[in-house]
């Protein structure tokens, strides 16, 4: 890590008044509003969900300050990045410094929020156990590191179009990750028989099974739908990684794969970010 880049990035973020206001709103005002509420609904719990908080803070910060790079604003051309890379600096140092700077900002706000909930006794009032409260602090730090690694990767992509596509993909993944659900239509004992009978009477039963459904979804369509959903969720988990530390540590017999997931995701994101930065050509002339 390069300390100068790390400190300058944090300073750059804190120079923006709008961003500072938003950080204060997320870190102080939002928790106060929830603390003063009699009982939070499960939906409002998302207001202090580690992943949701990290995502909102990360997006606001990076978009408003261009803290990672500035390809979004000037289409891949930068005023200061060529100068930085003429210095004796490894490009991975730039990536790591930016990642940690963003993670620091997110983690500080997120942990501050958690601290307010804990000290005010709100968490206890809402039924959380001591273990849940303690693990929530670590969860927020891991979440901050995960989200900032993905945002670092996205914002270091070479062209404006790629960055915008990455941001949209990240937002979609965050939506899928937060609203994780699957569609399943239950069949009653009798209704299935009736529907099959109806298809038989109409003479389309065989056609539906052998032609229509395979044409739409492939050969093993009915069993594959859940696999498609699983693939989408796994992709979403990479771009928008959620981690529930209490669930991981308390569940039967163990689900350590969920713990390895953010670590591998962070490494993949940083690898891609460094590889992209290595491949990019910076020129500080005038066309």
């Amino acid at each position: 890590m390069n300390r100068a880049i790390y400190i300058e990035t944090i300073k750059k973020i804190l120079k923006q008044r709008f961003v500072v206001f938003m950080l204060l709103a997320m870190g102080v005002l939002l928790p106060l509003s929830l603390i003063l509420a009699p009982t939070p609904t499960v939906t409002s719990v998302d207001g202090w969900d580690a992943f949701a908080v990290s995502t909102i803070i990360g997006l606001i910060t990076v978009t408003a300050t261009n803290a990672i790079g500035n390809s979004l604003s000037i289409g891949g051309r930068s005023d200061y990045m060529p100068l930085i890379f003429t210095r004796p600096l490894h490009r991975y140092q730039y990536v790591i410094s930016k990642w940690l700077a963003l993670a620091t900002v997110i983690a500080v706000v997120s942990v501050l929020q958690n601290l307010l909930f804990t000290t005010s006794g709100a968490f206890t009032r809402w039924g959380l156990t001591d273990e849940m409260i303690v693990l929530d602090f670590f969860e927020r730090i891991i979440s901050a590191l995960s989200v900032s690694s993905v945002l670092t990767m996205i914002y270091l992509l070479p062209t404006q179009t790629m960055v915008l596509s990455g941001v949209i993909a990240f937002e979609l993944a965050a939506g899928i990750s937060i609203l994780a659900m699957s569609i399943a239509v239950p069949m009653p004992e009798t209704a299935t028989d009736v529907s099959v009978l109806l298809c038989d009477i109409l003479g389309i039963d065989d056609w539906i099974r052998t032609t229509f459904i395979p044409a739409l979804f492939g050969g093993s369509a009915l069993s594959s739908i859940q696999q498609y959903i699983a693939a989408i969720i796994n992709l979403s988990n990479f771009l928008a990684p959620q981690i529930h530390l209490y669930d991981i540590l308390e569940t039967r017999p163990f689900v350590w794969s969920a713990l390895l997931e953010p670590i591998s995701n962070i490494l993949i994101a940083l690898t891609i970010a460094t590889a992209v930065l290595n491949a990019r050509e910076y020129h500080y002339d005038v066309d």
Partner: protein, 280 residues
């Protein structure tokens, strides 16, 4: 034009890539091991069985409640239904004998438009068998006309599913936690194995709630399908907490963590207490 590639570190990328590859491989290997690990029964919630009380009946369990009024009485009901409305009137007047006959919560219980069930009026005292029979027995089906007149003043009654007649072994009237899931769905399985298996959550559910699971990956029985129609949806997993008499106390759809399950349960309990206090 001058180009610079200073600081390009291919070696570092290789190291990062190798680390990512190792962790990714380890993650998938551990996930495969986890999937193959047997689940100890004591580490999962002891879900309560759902007796198929509607199996041999064409009717639905319906309760007419004098409270609320959002749902208007269905005028197309048969005379059985009219009779059950009469029972509502008698319950309101505090007839203890009628209360004992029709149910636990001073509501009347009846079966809608059930011609088959009429023949089973005098079934034995087994609660499940009683459910297959029209609860309006000789008393309810021969409602006095004076009560009918009184009822007409408040003819708007709410009809609801008599869930308490399904879970008759919920004797201490714990709130019922309905968990609609699909074993084929990774999200549902994750929630069941992670959020709901956590020790604190599991213990709280088993202590304070009456947990019921409805699995979509098999054909649902009539009763399960009725519960799905009342409280479920096609977006799984769904956790719906209702009172022992079927009033919704809170629900959520989609994966939620153990922390959110705790909040949901706490809110449901608080809502139930508030309802009980306001009723008192």
């Amino acid at each position: 034009m001058m180009l610079t590639k200073k600081g390009s570190t291919r070696g570092t990328v290789s190291v990062l890539f190798l680390s990512a590859f190792i962790f990714l491989g380890a993650r998938f290997a551990v996930a495969a091991i986890e999937a193959a690990m047997p689940i100890k029964p004591e580490k999962t919630i002891a879900w309560k069985p759902i007796p198929d009380v509607l199996k041999n009946s064409k009717s639905n369990l319906v309760v007419s409640s004098p409270e609320g009024g959002s749902e208007i009485e269905d005028k197309s009901r048969t005379s059985d239904t009219d009779d059950q409305n009469d029972v509502v009137g008698r319950n309101k007047s505090g007839d203890a004998a009628e209360d004992e006959e029709v149910g636990a919560d001073s509501n009347s219980v009846s079966l809608d438009t059930n011609s088959d069930a009429k023949s089973d009026k005098n079934s034995d005292s087994d609660p499940h068998k009683r459910l297959n029979t029209p609860v309006p027995s000789s008393k309810t089906s021969s409602a006095p006309s004076k009560d009918k007149n009184r009822l007409s003043a408040s003819s708007k009654v709410v009809k609801r599913f008599a869930i308490e007649k399904v879970f008759t072994d919920n004797v201490d009237q714990r709130p019922i936690m309905l968990f609609f899931t699909d074993e084929r769905s990774v999200i549902s399985k994750k929630m069941e194995n992670a959020s709901l298996s956590a020790k604190d959550v599991r213990e709280k559910i088993e202590k304070d709630f009456y947990p019921v699971k409805i699995n979509y990956d098999k054909k649902l029985t009539k009763t399960e399908y009725r519960l799905y129609k009342e409280y479920g949806s096609t977006a799984v997993p769904i956790m719906h907490i209702v009172s022992s008499t079927g009033e919704s106390l809170g629900w959520t759809s989609g994966y939620i963590s153990a922390v959110k399950v705790m909040v949901l349960m706490r809110n449901a309990k608080a809502k139930l207490i508030a309802k009980q206090q306001s009723a008192d």
